[in-house]
């Protein structure tokens, strides 16, 4: 039972992950700063998932990357591309629509339970 719940939860999380990451990349971020921002917002993310995800987003041309070597250690910064901004906005609208739909479904369910 517990492991089944874990599977579902992981699936739900995985679906929202791309949106969560895209939302934080309107300003340039490097790997660890992104982890901290997400953690501050309460979004737990495996670091071993995040770094490969960033590379995949880059390959899909949603983000661009650049190396900053001016500081004490070199850091790779990621930021949304124009295409990425467009996709992010559409995805955000989808998400809002979905949460509304789901909310009404879940509310209906709670009403039945309280009857």
């Amino acid at each position: 039972m517990g492991s089944l719940l874990d599977t579902f939860t992981t699936e739900l999380r995985r679906g929202t992950l791309t949106l969560a990451v895209l939302s934080q990349l309107r300003t340039p971020q490097y790997g660890y700063s992104l982890v901290q921002r997400l953690e501050d917002a309460g979004v737990a993310i495996e670091q071993s998932t995040l770094y490969p995800l960033l590379r995949r987003l880059e390959k899909q041309e949603l983000v661009t990357s650049s190396w900053d070597t001016t500081e004490s250690r070199p850091r790779k910064y990621y930021v949304l591309s124009d295409h990425g901004i467009k996709v992010y906005k559409q995805l955000k609208d989808e998400w809002k629509k979905m949460t509304l739909e789901l909310k009404s479904l879940l509310q209906g369910d709670e009403n039945i339970e309280s009857d």
Partner: protein
């Protein structure tokens, strides 16, 4: 410091060479970001355990699929296999039989060649199956990797523009009426066997004996080949008709009145021809009778008598089987 280097190496050694340096640099700076100033080895271990098993991390960097044949191709892969395998088996059997007939030296008895052939054919079929499975899988794995886009696949295309209209073209064949592919193939093999047996009866159909344990030797033919071959034009006509009937059955895939009638005419006529040939008094090889009389230690007339009875039973059972088959085909054709 050393631990970080080893960890980064453990990850990047599993990655394609061209991405290695970039990922190594990023990973190293990320790990250092995670550490406090003046960190201890315990801090490093803590950070590395957050990143987890290097093999798992490397696997998530890789974007080639972690399966040989994915869900996009799986359906069409299985479908191809199902279509190809029966043909591969049939063709390899046919080639082997053909080879044996062409290269038949006549030194060995045909029956013992046939028994040996069965084993060789089984081996060949297994070999062909392994080859087919291997090569088709390789091709599909290649297509999976190279990434034919979904729309390039005929099956996907068909699925995309599917409309309920398509249902009108689907013919559902009731199981009771159906002619299975197995029946058709069996009919084909049966026709091939009796035609080969007919034209080679002088060294195929006859009495075999194991002499000195040296395998089966052909002693004498059962029939007078000259008498048998008097009827060859009829036999050729029946082979052609039977082949046509088999193709018709394959296409129709179910019994219809037309098919049952064609079947009844062809099989009825072939039964009549069989009776005519069988009742030719010169058909049986004269030498058979003294040979069997000696074998079973009776008189020649008793042997001839029992031979005739056996022959009658064979002819009668052939006729009865044909009648049952014709009757059954009409019964199936009438099912709605």
């Amino acid at each position: 410091m050393n631990l970080i280097k080893v960890y980064v190496h453990e990850v990047t050694k599993r990655l394609p060479a061209k991405t290695r340096d970039d990922i190594a640099l990023e990973l190293k700076s990320t790990i250092e970001d995670m550490l406090p100033e003046n960190y201890s080895e315990a801090d490093v271990k803590d950070a590395l355990s957050k990143l987890g098993n290097p093999a798992v991390l490397a696997a998530s960097y890789r974007d080639t699929p972690m399966y040989l044949i994915g869900p996009n191709l799986y359906d069409i892969y299985i479908l191809t296999m199902k279509r190809v395998i029966p043909w591969a088996i049939l063709i390899s059997i046919c080639i082997h039989i053909f080879e044996n007939i062409v290269f038949f030296s006549g030194k060995e008895a045909i029956l013992s060649v046939a028994i040996k052939s069965v084993w060789i054919i089984i081996g060949n079929v297994i070999n062909v199956l392994i080859q087919v499975f291997f090569w088709f899988t390789i091709v599909f794995v290649f297509v999976e990797r190279v990434g034919l886009s979904n729309s390039d696949l005929p099956n996907k295309k068909k699925r995309m523009i599917w409309t309920p209209e398509d249902l009108k073209y689907v013919v559902i064949i009731p199981k009771k009426k159906a002619i299975s592919k197995g029946d058709v193939v069996f009919g084909f093999i049966w026709t091939a066997i009796w035609s080969i047996a007919y034209f080679n009866a002088d060294h195929l159909v006859g009495i075999y004996q194991s002499i000195d344990g040296n395998g089966l030797q052909f002693v004498m033919p059962l029939f007078n080949q000259d008498t048998l071959l008097l009827y060859w034009p009829f036999i050729v006509i029946f082979i052609i008709l039977e082949a046509g009937l088999i193709v018709y059955k394959w296409k129709a895939a179910q019994w219809t009145m037309k098919l049952a009638t064609a079947n009844a005419i062809i099989h009825g006529l072939s039964a009549v021809t069989f009776i005519v040939i069988a009742s030719n008094p010169n058909l049986l090889n004269e030498a058979i009778i003294p040979y069997t009389a000696q074998l079973f230690e009776t008189t020649s007339s008793a042997a001839a008598n029992s031979m005739e009875w056996i022959w009658r039973v064979i002819v009668a059972s052939f006729v009865v089987t044909t009648m049952i088959e014709i009757f059954e085909s009409y019964r199936k054709a009438r099912i709605r």
